[in-house]
Amino acid sequence: MKKSTRELIINLIALSGLLIVPLWAQVTDNPFTITLATKVAIFALAGVGLNIALGLGGLVSLGHAAFFGIGGYAVGILASHAQTYEPLMEWPFLIEGTKLMPIMWVVALVTSALAALVIGALSLRTSGIYFIMVTLAFGQMFYYFTISWPAYGGEDGLSIYVRNSFPGLNTLVPLQFFGICFVLLIICLFINWRIIHSTFGLALNAARQSQERVETVGLNPFRMRLIAFTISGAITGLAGALFADLNRFVSPAMFSWQTSGEILVFVILGGVSYLCGPLVGAAVFILLEHYLGGLSEYWHIYLGALLLVVVLFAKGGIIGALSGKGAAHG
């Protein structure tokens, strides 16, 4: 069997698995499992965002928590203003809170994209270890800013009293909220797939391998990377918005460097630059957290061991190993 066919089959199994598990949980009346599946979908979405920067652009960002957190706080802040009926601002134009998810998603996408554009414009002037450090520094800036910003809960975070609404659906029903997250994941996977095969994707992918080559044909690698980083940040921001609604709570922890690290782990575990790598990685992460977390508080030790095995012996992550393709790039 062709290796790309095998990858396609793995992708279909992963996606249908993510769909079947909560449906089955619905039948057996197990809402907790649905919540776990929702978490997988949201983390996978955050990973899909990072994978556009990391897999295609070769940009190791340790600051994607910034976008995850911005998406989350966009939802938290808008919801809190809707709760109190106090507008966010009255001048020069009126902005009021809202409880409508689609509006919140747009706000989350736009704000995290803007943040990624600014952070990218500054950090993409560096590369390698310096890029990792600069993105980490930006993430930490947001983290400490939210801790010391009393207007929206500071260190204590901000509660969302009722899950926000989506026209025609009851988002309080776990399966319906899962459905929303699943559909958004599919849409973003589709966008990612189209980008990979686009002229932009081909050029960005080549820029990762040989910057000189891309410049010599007259293309601007910096500009391409900035566009990729912005799209990447926006998708991770959308994931943050959904995460806020899943927990009905946002806190500075969303901005912490551990969050950035976890998003990186999803992608590396599943397989960098593989379309469904983040999904497989996030699913394994949640399963480990659930089952090993029951055995020991220190389950991260096992996660660390697994990560070592993957990085040392299966450089293409789980999908790379299962499809026989190995590292999609070295």
């Binding site: 095969h197 686009s198 002229t199 992918n205 044909v217 293309l219």
Partner: protein
Amino acid sequence: MADPILETRKLTKRFGALAANEDVSIDLRSNEIHAIIGPNGAGKSTLIKQICGGLKPDSGDVLISGETVTAHNTQQRSARGLGRTFQISALAMQDSVLENAVLGVIGRLGKRLSLFSNALKNSEFVEPALKALEQAGLEKQLDYKASELSHGERRQLELAIALTLSPKAFIMDEPMAGLGAGGTKQMTEVLSELRFQAPILLVEHDMDAVFALADRISVLVYGRVIACGTVDEIRNDPAVREAYLGNAA
């Protein structure tokens, strides 16, 4: 007389006390192959880098069709018509031969960079790429990864990418290096025809190929052009024989 396609005026580049290039003035005219020869360390690579934009000269200018491009970076010079091939292959090694060539077409059509149009299913990109690969003799290796190609085939791919750019001038850094006898012969035939498509500035160590191909030769020694002329003039120039060719020629 019309402006030369490519011209350098008194290019000078020093690394500390070492003058890698000093007052290098050369030009490239239509339908010619202008070869740059010189012993190792003569400053050929430094010259190429300054022409293509990777290295900023200390003084002097680079002109493309009479327009000064000294302040322009690599990608701007490429957009103005320079098609470069590298001494050490600069390819997207994990991409297929076809993808590498399509990259060149994408570069030429630069402003149409799209997030959604499928690069390999769009004839606007694929057809010029296929044509260039055919001209370079790689039409049978389309699906190979660049990393799977032999050394000689990578040279051909370098050439194919340069062809997709439809440049005004080719800058070729040792296109024969590492090719076998057959490969050198084939490349010589391709380049010989190519000069009528766009002139070629050729840096090459293979003297047989240079003497077979070049309309003019400039000899670079210790960063200076010590002679410039036709093949016969260079062969018989005593300074060149002294400095470079020894008694072998």
